[in-house]
C-alpha cells in the first residue's frame, strides 16, 4: 500500500485533461529555448533597422524578420548529400525490380524495316521487350514542336537513337538480350553539316506537314528588324564583322540519366526520375501511355546536376514506364556515359555572323546577327533557342538598330537543347568580343565604351522587353576597380592579358509554355502548419542542386520568423506538390519564392490577428522576430510563435495557405515578342586575367573578378557558388570542351576523358562580387543567379587573350592548337620568326574617350535618379539617339518600324541563316500548284 501512496499524484498521458499540457514559453517551438533578439543589421532602413538601402525600399521590407534572408546558409539538403544518404535516380531500389536496357541505332539515318525479338525473348531472364509499335504518340518539351517517340517509329534519326528496349532480371541478361534483338535497316543519306540542313532534301529528317518549311531541314526560322536599319551603316564610323563557329557542348553533369518506373497494384504509375521539369514529364507520360494525368505520380529524386540537360521529357522515361507496364514489375534504366551524350540536349553547335557598328559619338548604332544553329535530330527547346540567339543581346546596351536572322536545322546528330545560359551564350560572346574590337577601332577603353551605352533602370529594350532593376553599371565599376583594370589593360607584357565581358539574362521566362499566363499562375506553393509549429512547404519546384528547396524554405522562415530547422520542404511528388513548371530559364528563385512569400504572408496575417486577440496590442505596431510576435515599440508586449499559432488553430486545426505567382502583362505584340520576356533580368560583368604560352598556344586563366547583379542575394553562399561554378563551366566551353564529330559523323568523344572538362589545375581564382540592385518585383528584391553568371566568362577570356597576344579567335573552344595557328599567322604577317618577339597590343586614347567618360558620368547620375524615383517617366531604347524616351520609337518614327519577315530585297543576298527564308512553307506553296 505504501508503494501506491508514493506514486505521483498527477495523472500523465492520455488521461490528462485536454488543453492542460504546458507548452514552454517564450521562444518555444525551435531548438533554442529563448527567442533571439532581432539583429537590427538585417532589418532594412525603411523599417527603422540598420540595413542600408542605397537602391531604395522594397515591397517585402516589412516582412523581414532578420532571420535568414541575406545570410550565407548551407543548403537544406546538404547533409543528405554529404553523408551519402541522398537517393539519386539510380539509388532507387524497389522489390522485384527488373533492369531495362535500350537498343540503339548504329546508323545516323535509316528506315527501320523490321525488328526481330524472337531470339531475345527466348533468353532465360528476359521479361519484356518493347519497340516503337508499343507507343506511337509523339511528345516533346514544347507543345508546338512535339516530334519525339519513345522508340523509333519508322525511322532512326541519329546514331544512338532508340529502337527498342528490353527488361530482364539483371543487367547482364538485359545486355545479352540487347545483342540478340535483330534490327533490319535501310540506310538513308545522313546530314551532318548544319549548312546542308538549309537546303532542300529528298528525305527531310522530320515532316511537319503543311507547316514544313520548303523541303528543307529548317525546323525554325526567325527574322527581326528593329530600329533605324538604314541609318546604321550610314552613321557608322567603325564596324566589327566576324563569322564565328561554336562547337556544341554538353552539360556533363555528374549523374547520368536514370529512371525507375513502377505501376502500383491500384494501377497508378510512379516514375522516379532525376528531372528538372517533372510537370512536363507528367504531361508527356499521359500522352504517350494514354492514361489520365491523375493516374501518374512523378517522383523527382535528388538530381546529380542538370544544367538544362534534364529538362526534357525523355524517351527512356517512356521506355521504363512501357516496360514496367508490360512486365508488371518495377523497371530501372541507368545510362552509361555515352548514352548521356546520345540524348545530349547540350548547347547548339552554331555558326554566327556578328556585325556591330558604332557612330562618331561612340554609340552602338547597330547590331546585326545571323545565327545558324544545329539542332540535331529533334526539336527539344530549339524553337525558343532560335529566338534567344538574337533577342537576348538587345540589352544591356542602348542600340540604334537590331537586325536578326536565325535558323535552327535538323541534322543527324543527337538533339541539342537547353543548356545553362540557354541560347544566349554564343551570341553574347560574339557581341562582347565585337565591342572589344569596336573599342580598339575607336581607340577607347572598352569598359568606358560600355558604361557610356547602358540602358537606364526601368526602361524598355529595342525589342520591347520591360527591364526593371539594372545593376550593370555597378558591376562594371566594381570589376574595373577591384581588378586594377586601369593599371593593367593594354599595359601587360606579351603573354599576359586582361579582358572584360558582360552578360544579360532572363530571370524566369514570361510565358508558361502550356497555358495562358493570364489564367494560371507560373508557380504555386502550399504551406501547412500544425500544432508542432513546424512548417511543411509543398512545392513542385525541382531542386537540381541549385538550392531551390533552400530558397523557398528561407523565404517562408523569414516571413514567419522561424529558424530553418522548423521548415520542411516536400517537393518530390507530383501527387502532393502543386504544379510548378520546373527548373529552367532561371525562374525558380523569382517565381517560386514569390509564391512562397505570398503563402507565408497569409499565415503571417493569421498569426498577427491571433496576437492582437491575445494581447490586445495595436495590430499595426506588431512585428515578427525570432519565434515571437511583439510590439516594435514595446517588445515586452507579445506572444510566442506557438501561442499565436495555437490561437489561430482554435476551432479549425492546421493552418494551410496557398500562394501563387504570375507575371505582370509585358512586351510588344509582334510575332515572337514573348521570346525573351521576363519579369526581371540579371546583369553581370567579369574581368579575367590570362597567361598565354606564345610557343604552344596554351591559355591559363589566372584570375577572374566576377560581378553579378542578382537583385538581392537571399543566400550569398549559394550565389557565390553559382558564380564560381559558372566560371568553371564557361571556361570549359571557351578553352577545351567540345562535342567533336569525326569524319564518319560519329561523336568521337562521348566520355569524360576526351570530353575535356577543366580540371582543378585549370580552375583560376574567382573573386565573386555580388551587386544587389533590389528588383521591385523580385522576392525580397532577388533575381536569378544560376545562368547569367556563365555568359561573361567566355568573352572576357577571349578579350584577355587578345590583350595578351593580339589575336582574336572566331572559333570556340580556343584550343591550344587553334591559338598556336593564329600566333603563327600573326608572326608570318609581321615577319617575326620567334613568337616571343611579338608585340602586345597597346592603346592611345582618342578624343572620343573623354566624350564617353563624360557621358558615362551623366548617365550614372541619370540611373541613380531613376532607380529611386517612383514617379519616373518611361524610357524606351532610342533616347540616346535623340528620340523621345517616353514613346516607343516604332510608334512615332517610320524608320524604326518593326519587321518580322524579310522583304524580297533581303532574299536576293541573304546571310547564312537568313537563307532559310528562301523556302516557302508548304501551306503557302500549295496555292501555286
Amino acid at each position: 500500500m505504501s508503494e501506491k501512496e508514493d506514486a505521483p499524484k498527477e495523472i500523465v498521458g492520455y488521461r490528462q485533461q485536454p488543453g492542460k499540457l504546458p507548452f514552454s514559453r517564450p521562444g518555444s517551438g525551435g531548438k533554442g529555448k529563448f527567442s533571439e533578439a532581432t539583429d537590427q543589421e538585417m532589418i532594412p532602413e525603411s523599417q527603422g533597422g540598420k540595413l542600408a538601402q542605397e537602391w531604395g525600399p522594397h515591397r517585402h521590407d516589412e516582412l523581414i524578420s532578420g532571420r535568414v534572408i541575406g545570410k550565407s546558409t548551407s543548403l537544406v539538403d546538404s547533409s543528405w548529400k554529404v553523408t551519402g544518404q541522398a537517393h539519386y535516380g539510380d539509388d532507387v531500389r524497389l522489390p522485384g525490380e527488373l533492369i531495362g536496357r535500350i537498343v540503339r541505332s548504329p546508323h545516323h539515318y535509316a528506315r527501320v524495316l523490321s525488328i526481330d525479338c524472337t531470339k531475345a525473348l527466348e533468353l532465360p531472364g528476359v521479361v519484356a521487350i518493347a519497340t516503337g509499335d508499343d507507343a506511337k504518340n509523339k511528345f516533346g518539351v514544347l507543345p508546338v514542336t512535339k516530334d519525339e517517340h519513345a522508340m523509333a517509329v519508322e525511322k532512326v534519326r541519329h546514331a544512338g537513337d532508340l529502337v527498342a528496349c528490353v527488361a530482364a532480371i539483371d543487367e547482364a541478361t538485359a545486355r545479352e538480350a540487347e545483342r540478340l534483338i535483330q534490327v533490319e535497316y535501310e540506310l538513308i543519306d545522313p546530314i551532318h553539316d548544319m549548312r546542308k540542313g538549309l537546303e532542300d532534301s529528298e528525305e527531310p529528317i522530320h515532316d511537319r506537314g503543311d507547316y514544313h518549311i520548303g523541303e528543307s531541314n529548317v525546323q525554325k526560322r526567325v527574322f527581326q528588324e528593329f530600329g533605324d536599319i538604314e541609318g546604321m551603316i550610314e552613321n557608322s564610323v567603325a564596324s566589327h564583322k566576324k563569322n564565328w563557329i561554336f562547337a556544341g557542348v554538353n552539360h556533363a553533369f555528374t549523374e547520368p540519366h536514370a529512371v525507375v518506373a513502377h505501376w502500383d497494384p491500384t494501377g497508378r504509375l510512379t516514375l522516379y526520375t532525376p528531372q528538372q521539369v517533372p510537370h512536363y514529364v507528367h504531361r508527356a507520360l499521359a500522352d504517350v501511355l494514354e492514361i489520365p494525368m491523375h493516374q501518374i505520380n512523378v517522383h523527382r529524386t535528388f538530381v546529380g546536376g542538370g544544367f538544362g540537360g534534364k529538362s526534357d521529357p525523355f524517351p527512356h522515361e517512356m521506355c521504363a514506364a512501357i516496360l514496367a507496364r508490360k512486365s508488371g514489375k518495377p523497371v530501372r534504366i541507368t545510362f552509361d556515359r555515352e548514352e548521356v551524350y546520345w540524348v545530349n540536349r547540350g548547347r547548339h553547335p552554331s555558326r554566327i555572323e556578328m556585325n556591330l557598328h558604332a557612330d562618331d559619338e561612340g554609340r552602338i548604332c547597330g547590331i546585326e546577327t545571323d545565327a545558324l544553329i544545329d539542332g540535331g535530330a529533334f526539336a527539344s527547346f530549339g524553337h525558343v533557342t532560335t529566338y534567344y540567339n538574337g533577342v537576348l543581346h538587345t540589352a544591356p546596351y542602348e542600340i540604334g538598330a537590331f537586325h536578326y536572322t536565325g535558323a535552327r536545322v535538323w541534322t543527324n546528330k543527337p538533339a541539342s537543347g537547353a543548356m545553362r545560359g540557354h541560347g544566349a551564350v554564343n551570341s553574347r560572346c560574339a557581341v562582347e568580343v565585337g565591342l572589344d574590337d569596336l573599342a580598339e577601332k575607336l581607340s577607347v577603353d572598352p569598359i568606358s565604351l560600355r558604361l557610356a551605352n547602358l540602358l537606364p533602370p526601368h526602361s524598355a529594350t529595342i525589342t520591347g522587353f520591360r527591364v526593371t532593376s539594372i545593376g550593370m553599371r555597378e558591376c562594371l565599376e566594381r570589376v574595373r576597380e577591384e581588378s586594377g583594370w586601369n593599371k593593367k589593360f593594354r599595359k601587360l607584357p606579351l603573354g599576359k592579358g586582361i579582358g572584360i565581358g558582360c552578360g544579360f539574362f532572363i530571370s524566369g521566362s514570361g510565358l508558361p509554355i502550356h497555358w495562358d499566363p493570364n489564367k494560371f499562375p507560373h508557380a504555386t506553393v502550399h504551406l501547412k502548419i500544425d500544432m508542432d509549429g513546424g512548417v511543411t512547404i509543398h512545392t513542385g519546384a525541382a531542386d537540381i542542386g541549385q538550392g531551390s528547396d533552400t530558397v523557398v524554405a528561407q523565404s517562408v522562415a523569414e516571413v514567419l520568423g522561424l529558424p530553418l530547422d522548423m521548415i520542411r520542404v516536400k517537393s518530390r511528388d507530383s501527387d502532393t506538390s502543386p504544379v510548378d513548371l520546373g527548373s529552367y530559364s532561371s525562374r525558380v528563385t523569382f517565381m517560386n519564392a514569390n509564391a512562397a512569400i505570398s503563402a507565408a504572408m497569409q499565415i503571417r496575417e493569421e498569426l498577427l490577428d491571433a496576437t492582437v486577440e491575445i494581447t490586445g496590442a495595436e495590430r499595426s505596431g506588431l512585428v515578427i522576430g525570432d519565434r515571437r510576435i511583439f510590439l516594435k515599440e514595446d517588445p515586452a508586449v507579445g506572444v510566442s510563435y506557438l501561442e499565436a499559432l495555437h490561437k489561430s488553430q482554435e476551432d479549425r486545426g492546421a493552418l494551410v495557405a496557398s500562394g501563387a505567382y504570375r507575371t505582370p502583362p509585358m512586351g510588344k505584340m509582334h510575332k515572337g515578342a514573348a521570346a525573351g520576356l521576363a519579369p526581371a533580368y540579371s546583369f553581370s560583368a567579369y574581368v579575367t586575367e590570362v597567361s598565354v604560352d606564345v610557343e604552344t598556344g596554351q591559355i591559363k586563366v589566372d584570375k577572374v573578378w566576377a560581378a553579378h547583379d542578382c537583385g538581392k542575394a537571399l543566400n550569398p553562399l549559394a550565389v557565390k557558388g553559382q558564380i564560381i561554378g559558372s566560371c568553371h563551366m564557361g571556361m570549359g566551353q571557351v578553352l577545351s570542351e567540345e562535342m567533336r564529330y569525326g569524319r564518319s559523323g560519329n561523336l568521337m568523344n562521348p566520355d569524360l576523358l576526351d570530353y575535356k572538362i577543366p580540371s582543378i589545375h585549370e580552375m583560376p581564382e574567382v573573386i565573386p562580387i555580388i551587386v544587389e540592385s533590389n528588383d521591385p518585383e523580385g522576392p525580397f528584391g532577388a533575381k536569378e543567379a544560376g545562368e547569367g553568371p556563365l555568359l561573361p566568362i567566355l568573352p572576357s577570356v577571349c578579350n584577355a587573350v587578345y590583350d595578351a597576344i593580339g589575336i582574336r579567335t572566331s572559333e570556340l573552344p580556343m584550343s591550344p592548337e587553334k591559338v598556336h595557328k593564329m600566333i603563327e599567322k600573326r608572326c608570318r604577317m609581321e615577319g617575326v620568326s620567334d613568337p616571343n618577339n611579338l608585340t602586345s597590343p597597346s592603346l592611345q586614347h582618342s578624343s572620343l574617350q573623354g566624350v564617353l567618360e563624360n557621358r558615362a558620368k551623366e548617365h550614372g547620375k541619370r540611373d541613380k535618379d531613376r532607380r529611386l524615383d517612383e514617379g519616373r517617366s518611361d524610357y524606351h531604347n532610342g533616347a540616346l539617339f535623340g528620340l523621345d524616351p517616353t514613346i516607343p520609337p516604332d510608334e512615332v518614327d517610320p524608320r524604326w518600324s518593326v519587321r518580322v519577315t524579310p522583304e524580297e530585297e533581303y532574299l536576293e543576298s541573304p546571310r547564312l541563316a537568313g537563307s532559310a527564308w528562301k523556302h516557302t512553307e508548304r501551306r503557302h506553296a500549295e496555292g501555286q500548284e
Partner: protein, 327 residues
C-alpha cells in the same frame, strides 16, 4: 558500363603466376595479366579484347621491390614518384601521369606495357559497331583501319605512356619472365612497331622489373609533355632529354626519346649524336629540336592534330634542353 564475366587468379609468388600462365596456355585458354587495372579494366568495360581469365599480380611481393638500380613491375607510379632513390627526371615523369588516384593504383610495369590508344578503338562496343569496327579492336572481323583507310596490315594506335622515354634515356634494362624462362633486354628493344603487338612480350610472358645502369645518377635532364589538361590526360607528346658530363663545353653524352606520337616510344640516337658532334649551345638545340620534329610521324587519332603535335615536339625538346643551356 559492365565488364563481361572473367575469372580472376591471384598467385602469391612469381613461380605460381608462371605456373598458372603455363596451365592456361596449355589448355588453350586466353588470359591477361592485370597489375593496377587502370588501363585494362576500362578497356574491359568497353569490351575491348576481353579474355576469359585474368591473372592478378597484386599479391606477389617480389614484384614490389624498389631500389636505386631496380624497380619492380608492381611498384605503384605514386611510389616511384615519391621514392627517395628515384632518378629526378623519372620522378617528374611519374608525377605527371594521369591523376593522383590513378597513380596510386597504376604500376610501373603497367605503364610500360600500356595498351596503345586511338579514337576509333577506345569507345563502347555499340559505338564501334556503328563505324563497322576497326582493325585493332575487333581482330578477325576483317575491318579496315579507320585512321589510315585502305590498309589492314598495320595498326597505328598511339603509345601514350610517360615512363618509357625517360627509362630509355637512362639506359634501362627490362626483365621478362615466362613459363619458358627469363630474359632481359635494353628497354629500347622491348617495343616492337605496330599498335597491336606493341612489344616483344610473348603469350604468357610478363615484365618482372626494370634495372638501371650504375651511372644512371650521373645523367641529368628533363621530361616535357603536351596535353590539354594538367590532370587525367594522356600525353599527346612527350620528350625526355638526358645528358651527362656538362662542364661548360657542352654535354659529353646526350640522349633524346619521345612518346605519345607513334605506336611505340622512340630513342632518337642519330639525332642526339649529330647534336653532340658539333655542339654549339643554342643553335645546336634548335637544330636538334627540328630534327626530332622531323623524326616523328604522329597520325590523327588523339585529341590534338598530328601537325600540332609535331610542332610541339620541337618546342618540348627545346624546353627539355633548357637546363643544359643554363649550365
Amino acid at each position: 558500363m559492365r565488364m563481361p564475366p572473367f575469372r580472376v587468379l591471384s598467385p602469391k609468388s612469381l613461380d605460381e603466376a608462371l605456373t598458372m600462365s603455363r596451365e592456361l596456355s596449355e589448355s588453350g585458354e586466353e588470359f591477361d595479366w592485370v597489375a593496377g587495372g587502370t588501363d585494362l579494366l576500362p578497356n574491359y568495360k568497353w569490351h575491348i579484347n576481353v579474355k576469359g581469365h585474368v591473372i592478378s599480380l597484386s599479391c606477389i611481393a617480389e614484384l614490389r621491390e624498389i631500389s636505386e638500380e631496380s624497380i619492380g613491375a608492381m611498384v605503384s607510379i605514386n611510389e616511384l614518384a615519391e621514392h627517395e632513390s628515384t632518378h629526378p627526371v623519372l620522378a617528374k615523369a611519374a608525377d605527371s601521369i594521369a591523376s593522383v588516384m590513378i597513380r596510386r593504383s597504376g604500376t610501373v610495369g603497367g605503364n610500360i606495357c600500356l595498351d596503345t590508344r586511338c579514337y576509333w578503338i577506345n569507345q563502347s562496343e555499340t559505338w564501334r559497331e556503328s563505324i563497322d569496327w576497326c582493325h585493332k579492336c575487333d581482330c578477325g572481323t576483317g575491318a579496315d583501319c579507320r585512321v589510315i583507310p585502305n590498309q589492314n596490315t598495320l595498326c597505328v594506335a598511339t603509345y601514350q605512356a610517360d615512363l618509357a622515354p625517360v627509362l630509355m634515356c637512362l639506359g634501362a634494362t627490362i626483365h621478362l619472365a615466362s613459363p619458358k624462362g627469363k630474359r632481359s633486354m635494353p628497354l629500347c628493344d622491348f617495343f616492337k612497331l605496330d599498335g597491336m603487338t606493341r612489344n616483344v612480350l610473348e603469350l604468357g610472358e610478363m615484365v618482372t622489373h626494370i634495372t638501371l645502369p650504375e651511372d644512371a645518377s650521373d645523367w641529368s635532364g628533363d621530361y616535357q609533355k603536351l596535353r590539354q589538361r594538367e590532370s587525367w590526360d594522356f600525353p599527346e607528346a612527350g620528350v625526355a632529354v638526358l645528358w651527362k658530363g656538362d662542364e661548360g663545353y657542352g654535354p659529353s653524352s646526350l640522349r633524346v626519346a619521345t612518346t605519345g606520337l607513334e605506336s611505340i616510344p622512340s630513342l632518337h640516337s642519330e639525332e642526339a649524336e649529330g647534336a653532340l658532334e658539333n655542339w654549339s649551345g643554342v643553335e645546336t638545340v634548335e637544330i636538334l629540336s627540328e630534327s626530332i620534329r622531323k623524326a616523328v610521324k604522329p597520325v590523327q587519332n588523339t585529341w590534338f592534330s598530328p601537325s600540332y603535335r609535331r610542332k610541339m615536339v620541337k618546342v618540348l625538346t627545346k624546353r627539355a634542353c633548357r637546363e643544359l643551356l643554363v649550365s
